[in-house]
């Protein structure tokens, strides 16, 4: 392998402000016999925005689902903000507390109002008093620009509004990292922008983010680093300019030629 290629598959250089937030070392994940993630090494720095792209089935979602233990990794280690993920339920809950997640299908709780959706975890997990939690929730709804929807139920809102509530819900726990799992893939085209704008605001405010997405415009504009995955491996890593204008790997070039 040439020297440039070696550098380009190295995702362990830390961006952001240089402090390591997430450290994945030699991580493997199997589903039965299927080798879903192969020897993943990746570091994410505080305040860094990493966008993960790649064809479907490449293991992007599995990667970020391993970071908050929605999937259990089989080999290697994952350290989030200094806490290593193990079978210890306390460690898992500590990491989940500091790690927000936004899902493709929103996963709002349909039986709770928007306000209750946002305040449930802070009240239940962080023991924050009701009044305080609701005040915070209203601030967050201002921030995602739907304060007038606080009393509604998820089923009464559009997809874009629901996803913004989901973002507010994850922010309510004051997380150090937010994982986005294809947040715009289930949305109608005219609603994608409102969600991406919300995510851009977050990035500008210095939130550490890992986004699995198909929105190349977003990747180009917001990402500090782009990680390209295929067949369970990290194929290429680079800054957006480098990645989109001068991809090194054949696999990356093929992927980009298909989608751009």
């Amino acid at each position: 392998m040439s020297e440039t290629a070696a550098i380009n598959t190295d995702a362990t250089q830390v961006g952001g402000n240089g402090r390591v937030m997430i450290d994945v070392v030699n991580m493997d994940k199997f589903f039965g016999d299927f080798h879903a993630l192969k020897n993943i090494n990746m570091k994410v720095g505080e305040q860094e925005v990493v966008v993960v792209i790649g064809p479907s089935g490449s293991g992007k979602s599995t990667l970020i689902r391993c970071i908050n233990r929605l999937e259990r990794h089989d080999r290697g280690s994952i350290v989030v903000d200094g806490v290593e993920l193990s079978d210890d339920i306390k460690a898992i809950q500590n990491i989940r507390r500091e790690t927000g997640m936004v899902f493709q299908s929103f996963n709002l709780f349909p039986h709770l109002s928007v306000l209750d959706n946002i305040t449930l975890a802070p009240r239940n997990v962080r023991n924050i008093p009701k009044a305080e939690a609701e005040a915070t929730a209203m601030e967050l709804l201002e921030r995602v620009k739907i304060p007038d929807q606080a009393r509604k139920f998820p089923g009464q809102m559009s997809g874009g509004q629901q996803q913004r509530v989901a973002i507010a819900r994850s922010l309510a726990m004051k997380p150090k990292v937010i994982l986005f799992d294809e947040p715009t893939s289930a949305l109608d085209p005219e609603m994608i922008k409102e969600v991406l704008d919300t995510m851009k605001d977050l990035a500008t405010e210095g939130m550490t983010m890992i986004c699995v997405t198909h929105e190349m415009g977003f990747a180009r504009e917001v990402a500090d680093r782009v990680v390209f995955m295929a067949d369970g491996e990290i194929v290429e890593v680079g800054t957006p300019e480098h990645f989109f204008t001068n991809p090194q790997e054949e696999r990356t070039q093929l992927f980009l030629s298909q989608i751009l």
Binding site: F109, V125, G155
Partner: protein, 481 residues
Amino acid sequence: MVDKAANYLGDDIMSALAVDSTPPSAKLSPGDWMKKNLFSNAANSIVSLIVGLAAAALVWFGLKWIINADFAIIRANLRIFLIGQFPKEELWRPWASAYVLILGAGLMTGAMARNSYELDISQELEPVKESWGQMVRRFWPVLLVSIFFVSFARTIMPYIGLAAAFVLIVVTRELGWRMPAAVRQRALYIGVLLFIVSMLVIAGTSRLGGYALGLVVFIWMMSELSQVETLPVGFVGTLVRAAIALVIAAAVAVIQNLIPHDGFGWENWGGLHISLFTTVVGITLGMPFGILLALGRKSNLPVLKTASVIFIEFVRGVPLISLLLFSNLMLPLFLPIDFERPADLTLAIVVITGFSAAYIAEIVRGGLQAVPKGQTEAAQASGMSAASVQRFIVLPQALRAVIPAMVGQFIALFKDTSLLSIIGILEFLRVSDTSNAQQEFVGKGLASVTYLFVAIGYWAFAYTMSKESRRLEAKLGVGHR
């Protein structure tokens, strides 16, 4: 020529543009309706005719039978049909108990209706207050059947009692509607406490009633104290709250027990009352037990899982009758000799509770599986504990999804209480047999009269439950999700 064509085209476009936004009227005259639905073709006409004739014959013979039937047996036994061998000098108890029950139900439902009304307003929806006409339409089977029952009374008292009950329903519901918001939020606890009090009124004071009151007060106080923010949070806070709640609950139980015991338990209960009572108790005790069994069956702990599976599959695989007989005939053989034999009804309630719990467990399990995995994941991802995820996210959605199946189970349980007669309990259906065995009525072939009476009674309550279930289903939008 050209002009004409242009004109023609213009008219056509104009008429196409003039949108008629009213839907076409579907109203048919009675004649047209019959023609369309009953006699549209030869086959349809023949079916309509045959079914029509059969229905007419049924009504004719039915009416003839009813007019000629001798209802003296009902008149003579009305009290036994409704409350069994309840001592005559204690008759005030069932009445007082019913009024306390109405008080609780009226306050609770009135307050809950108002709460959902206010919720609609806060969500900018069109709020609806149910009119009394709609209420009558909702509960007409029970209303009609209670008037029907009382019409067999031989004194004026039951008429006055029933009229007073109707007035009380109206008054308490309006009162519940008008209660201040802080009281309305606690309506459920008030309703449950009054339900237990009504049971105590009819049975007299008892230690069991004291425990039941204490348990409800404890749960209530825990929920009240969780709102108090001056108390510490976390595990210590929970301990402090539990201690305070326990003291209050214990005080309530002790005070209840200090009231002189002037009741006589449930030895003399019977009739429709016992059927309704065992149903309600079977449901209220079977629900939490069934939910725990369902969670146990899904648990990762092998011991818990196996125990739940064995219990559920054993109870579901055996007829209720055999369980009742087992509890009545064989269980005492296993108990120590000096152990006082529990009352028949106590044993029956234990069996009915276990029986309904096993069925409820399977229904709830279906509901648990219907909750999408994403819901659990979203809750887990925010750091909630496994218990909290179940309690706040999974169970509320699972239970909502299984309401129709659950009510079906309740209706089945209500009808199954007729099996209690097998262990010598004088429930509603058995009164039919005992009254036909009375000296003045024996051998007169009046069983059809008493069976009809009993059937109407069962039907009124079962049909109301089924109507309410459909209403609840529509309200919660179960069918839409």
